[in-house]
Amino acid sequence: MQVLKAEDAVALFMTGGSARIDTNVTPKFKVGDTVVARNINPAGHTRLPRYLRGKQGTVHKVHGVFGFPDTMAHGQGETPQNVYSVRFTAQEVWGTDASPRDSLYIDMWDDYLDPA
């Protein structure tokens, strides 16, 4: 078993560790694409917030390849895939009472998205 040595702890805490996976996976979407968050309701772990399911957004940035929390949380492997910053307008999420000036930028994995 690997161990965290005391002399390595400070460096680890000060620099953090990236969850990025160094492998090439073709992204399903590009900046500017309109996407819809899937309506999934898994009994296990997911990072897809309930309030976004079925909502439409726009890909703002492609972050690159990361492991998929929904499988990693259950010992089912990394399922490497692209993650995007997706912009959802406040009015798309909360309706016309919301401010027309506000948006949410949410990190979304490929498996959370369908083309609009």
Partner: protein, 103 residues
């Protein structure tokens, strides 16, 4: 899972009221728990997704009435039992020996 942790959009939770001059830790046990979490994580006993899911699996009423690091503690106890690091009996036996002054 559609649990109480996914609070976005709910009403009735009161205002977000951040502390002024918030300390990094509110008690020494939080500091020690943070160190234990990192050490166990670095050993590969669990990953952070498993840990998050362990917090999500807390009973909803308990989740809402416990603090941030209490979530860590409860989830870490659960995960360490599930990963075979100790069992519930050992944990229960150890608790009476725990004290805030213990290093």
């Amino acid at each position: 899972m559609n649990g109480i942790h996914d609070l976005g959009g709910m009403h009735g939770m009161g205002p977000v009221d951040p502390e002024t001059a918030e300390p990094i830790f509110h008690a020494d046990w939080e500091r020690r728990l943070f160190a234990m979490w990192m050490a166990a994580f670095a050993c590969g006993i669990y990953d952070d997704n498993e840990f998050r899911h362990a917090i999500e699996r807390m009973a909803p009423a308990e989740y809402l009435t416990t603090s941030y690091y209490e979530h860590w503690l409860i989830a870490m106890e659960q995960l360490m039992i599930e990963k075979g690091q100790f069992d519930a009996t050992e944990l229960a036996a150890a608790w009476p020996n725990a004290s805030e002054g213990a290093a």
